[in-house]
Point group: C2
């Protein structure tokens, strides 16, 4: 295997991603690309870093390319915007060969095709660990100019979840336990949904866009709250409710029928509380939202069109958050804590 | 010194950078920020990575914050756009304390104030080396919708340079030679302009904006070429001319009076060809452009308003690039070459 040079890398990127795109006035390859936004632009930046967010031991190049982009698309989608482009700061270690880079590009391409996104450019650097920093954007409608967002919940609102929680955490857990390639392969076979959710989460951007349309149709642009769950419900729910400022909490129910069978099975084997396990979660990339109680029946109808599970979780109230009637363990994830 | 936690870091950022800005419809702190672009948007991404782009040995925290942003503003400015915002992917090592982070923010803030830019958000991660990935954007006028760009030079055009070449390379060279803190301090005293140009280059975005206005005023939107010189004239001039595709070259003159006295002095001491040294350069963040010969007298008049030196370098012609009448050494910089 020969490490790829800068020119090799750019040639590979060019093979996978056309330089032009309808959303670009000037294609990549210059000092700047030029976008022509058709409305307000939702912008997000997420880093995907080796050993902080992924291990090369069990992430293929495809998985890394996929997830680095997926976590950004998830943010764009959770604001109700239509993903339209991204740029990438790619820090390689200098050991990546052509096959690795092709796999990486294939992983990204699978998502750019699904969501019809332009790659506007980026930069390359070298370090001792892989580090992928993506900035992605999407277009909002002029009638939803600030997008869907956090901190607008009111007492009595319904809290809802689109997608799964706990499954990615399980994937991380079992993959971390696998010691060698053989064990990793066996783990992926034994816990296929959990491993897939950790390695290649599907960002719920079409669902976010539908929720944005729903908010416009029902004139809820400042009453439908939404965010993506990236640090686990335990940490993200207080953010959605702006609990520190608003004093709002919620009574949450996460019953067994809402959990993936792999989560229930695993927690049974290890004598863990499956609801608590899912509540702590992390990297779920589910959508978590609030809506006024009177809009809930219509919203629930919309959910039946979704290809992922979606359900109500409970009700916003004054006071603390409870999980299935008890005080949950609210541990969260902080890259900088000891 | 106590390493800062994620919450500490966000609190420091909030102290230095207001959450709101006229260019933002939704401030940072949500899954996405929302921009309201008033026209086409020029977007760029540049990584600033420890040991690849800077050494902590002689870069202060202020210098690192400054330069990470400066190199991106330079790209926005060289497209003729007005810088308006940026996002940051900040990978820390976990050893940075509050004082370091404050210095870093101060360095960025000096530039955001100068150019009135919003920080729309970002992300934090941890690795063994510092890595700062900035995506910056700026607004273009509807009458210059694709901005100023490369690859539009024609035979007979004048090549011009705004800013200095060779000075930053000298700064890198002498700072790399300095072994300890005392030697670094002495070096900064002995070569002040060179060290400043390497540590805190001033992006020429006001000058880029003026060049954009000039192009609009003289109806040169597809005839005034511009880029910023980040990899040295030797490497960047063929990119400006799209030499590989166009077959264009140039006769370049870089005479002693165009070089900074520190460059001339240093090259004299080391028996180096100062013009060749400056031509190879690197990290100059000067603006390099082409314009039709008939517009040159007007452009030269504009240059007298600039606060940095600006001058003609020669003429575009078919064939190779010559420097002061000879074939230059065209070595360039590739992070991925051995």
């Amino acid at each position: 295997m020969h490490p790829a040079s800068e020119d090799d890398i750019l040639a590979i990127v060019s093979r996978y991603f056309p330089a032009g795109h309808p959303s670009l006035l000037l294609n990549r390859g210059d000092d700047c690309a030029v976008l022509r936004p058709c409305g307000p632009l939702a912008v997000t930046t997420d880093i995907f870093a080796e050993d902080a967010h992924f291990r090369r031991r069990y992430f293929t190049a495809f998985d890394i390319g996929w997830k680095a982009l997926a976590v950004n698309i998830s943010d764009v989608g959770s604001s109700g915007a239509k993903p339209s482009g991204f740029s990438i700061g790619l820090t390689l270690t200098g050991k990546e060969d052509t096959a690795w880079l092709e796999g990486f590009c294939e992983g990204m391409k699978a998502l750019t095709e699904r969501f019809d996104m332009a790659i506007s450019g980026g930069d390359l650097a070298r370090s001792s660990l892989l580090n992928i920093c993506v900035t992605a954007w999407g277009e909002l409608s002029e009638t939803l100019p600030r997008g869907l967002r956090r901190g607008i919940a009111q007492e009595g609102d319904v809290i809802f979840l689109v997608g799964r929680v706990g499954l990615a955490r399980l994937g991380l857990f079992v993959l971390e336990e696998a010691g060698n390639d053989e064990e990793i392969a066996a783990t992926k076979k034994l816990w296929p949904a959990a491993c897939a959710q950790h390695l290649r989460p599907m960002p719920l951007a079409f669902e976010g866009l539908e929720l944005g349309r729903f908010a416009m149709r029902y004139r809820l642009k400042d009453r439908l709250g939404l965010m993506d769950v990236s640090d686990g419900l335990a940490r993200d729910l207080p953010r959605l409710l702006a609990s520190r400022r608003s004093g709002l909490g919620a009574d949450i129910r996460l019953m067994e029928e809402m959990l993936h069978p792999e989560v229930t099975l695993f927690c049974g084997q290890r004598s863990l509380d499956a609801s608590q396990f899912a509540f702590e979660g992390g990297e779920d990339y589910a959508l978590l939202g609030t809506c006024p109680a009177e809009a809930w029946p219509s919203l629930e109808k919309l959910f039946s069109d979704f290809s992922v599970p979606a359900a109500g979780l409970g009700t916003v109230k004054r006071g603390p958050i409870t999980l299935n009637g008890s005080t949950p363990n609210s541990a969260g994830f902080d890259h900088f804590s000891a």
